[in-house]
Symmetry: C2
């Protein structure tokens, strides 16, 4: 879909509406009708946010919201809500709000990291400069809370504000190697704030909108948190071993940036710490040093240990779901969790 | 008050509580008791936000929230609400939320501008770096909406989210001289988004919390908007002529940064456009060129015309207040408006 079409009043093209739907159908073909429609509604709502943006922000906002995200977080809202009986219009807004909030944090992260590209496209900061990137992120933050407010349930705003506050401190790279803070507990706390909090909030928001019992919402919260932790651990592994089927993606960017992740912590415990530490502390490591550090990590059991912990988290995520009704949506939540630890998308 | 004291459980020291109160008393000595107490409560609430910040953000958050702001926006919430009968705890949170939101936007503005100091102290970005400044701003955004959510009235979240979305686009310096957009209408639209929207939202939030009639809330909205416009125009004049009693403050920073304000627009209409344009287009103008451009502006009636428009706005602000009960709070709102156009604080 062309950005120019935003100026018109046409509905979003089917092709852009179906991104999220395709992802879900690949996980589980037997979606209930309502869920497929809700997913279409969320994409339309995201376009509406772009349309509403002030003139000079509209194009970067549209690009950021349509830049091929997996829509995992809004999907969690929708699936969690559909364990119960949500009101459709309200669910669509809440799910879109979670994706808008997530997008805002990505844009601000990219400013800090001076990242050139994300998902194969130029980042907002690379494409439009820092001034616009700051403004686009702030606009999206405001829109996310505006959408949540329109839902009319202050609990949602609060859940999401708490997650957003944690996310903000997760934006700090607490693990820039300084010789300190390189332990597993600190890593876990960091990724709970940086990644798992919003997964958890998405599930809680959905369960709340579905009118589930407190006990059911609690088990969705546990699911979301564990899923988020597993998701981040898997991401950290992919950074070191590359992604199957995707040649040319930078491998070892965490090491090169001095960001200490769980596999790196494990590797430092047992392997050739020297080669790894050298790269972590070097602001601009040479390619051969980076390759040596990656090899040093892979020579240990660090990757396996991280994958094993991620699988444990996924098992814990799935086991909590037994509190919930046995619906197609629950089976999709299970499939999402299983896919995360062997994920290729 | 020392930052370290935040780790303890003591109440904020009287000295920090009274900043806002001093400002109000200088405007009008006959405050009702309740208003003075509310103002103390707002300062305590701002400290509570600092206390709640994650470890690595606490110190910069505390510094940003206690950096000597005039507390004008929360004061507007409090005074507007006290035209009616607000619930105290809710009012305190809403007023604090407006100041927290305002502080978040200042911190992000300073990142874009690479500003070294604000209110005589290092900015967050200068003191802690860009990474922390982005995170502190995002944390404060989230906290502002969390506080508003706790109030339990979705209308407040919506009013504030709309103002925040406008503010985000106001962060763009639309008036960087590019030979375009140098007209009065565009300037007005820009400052309505950048400054007046939050003044207006503060008054609307207050009036809503006070349980005022729609008609009364509308007149508070008009007051807030006009006050904000007058405030910004006066700020733009001060940037060119300096502030009485404050030596050494940089004069002409808007010109030097290429930001076109109302007095500059007026000056270009009638004066030596050449000297002004040269500085606007020069990314790093020499001091003598800047001095020549300031002299060129002051040689015209631009300053007087801007001040005259600001006075018109203030009159319009005050005249709308006749819809409201004749209380000490209303007289303080009148005094604030009058003071803005001759303001020294």
């Amino acid at each position: 879909m062309d950005y120019k079409a935003l100026d018109g009043r046409g509905l979003p093209a089917a092709s852009s509406r179906s991104t999220m739907l395709r992802n879900v159908l690949s996980l589980h073909p037997a979606l209930s009708n309502g869920t497929a429609e809700t997913i279409g509604g969320v994409e339309a709502r995201l376009l509406e946010v772009s349309r509403r943006a002030p003139d000079r922000l509209r194009e970067p906002v549209f690009e950021a919201l349509s830049a091929g995200g997996k829509r995992l977080r809004p999907l969690l809202v929708v699936l969690s809500a559909r364990m119960g009986v949500p009101e459709e219009s309200v669910l669509v807004r809440a799910a879109a709000a979670v994706e808008v909030l997530h997008t805002a944090t990505l844009i601000h992260d990219d400013i800090v990291d001076r990242a050139a590209s994300r998902r194969g496209r130029p980042t907002t900061v690379a494409g439009y400069g820092r001034e616009t990137a700051v403004a686009v992120g702030d606009f999206l933050f405001a829109e996310a809370f505006g959408e949540l407010a329109a839902v009319g349930d202050p609990r949602l705003v609060r859940v999401m504000a708490e997650a957003a506050a944690e996310l903000a401190s997760g934006e700090l790279k607490q693990f820039r190697a300084s010789g300190e803070l390189l332990d597993v507990d600190a890593y876990m706390e960091h990724i709970r704030m940086k990644t798992a909090g919003l997964f958890r909030a998405a599930c809680v928001a959905g369960g709340t909108l579905g009118g589930l019992s407190l006990r059911q919402v609690d088990s969705l919260a546990t699911y979301g948190q564990s899923l988020g932790v597993a998701f981040q651990m898997t991401d950290d592994v992919i950074d070191l071993v590359g992604k199957p089927g995707r040649m040319g993606k930078d491998v070892g960017s965490d090491l090169a940036e001095g960001t200490v992740t769980l596999p790196i912590i494990f590797a430092l415990q047992e392997g050739d710490g020297e080669a790894i530490r050298r790269v972590l502390l070097d602001p601009d490591p040479a390619p051969e040093d980076l390759a040596a550090a990656i090899a040093a990590v892979r020579a240990t059991s660090a990757i396996e240990r991280t994958e094993s912990r991620a699988r444990d988290e996924v098992e814990s995520a799935i086991s909590g779901l037994t509190e919930l009704p046995d619906t197609p949506e629950r089976r999709i939540l299970e499939a999402i969790a299983s896919k995360v630890v062997g994920r290729d998308a």
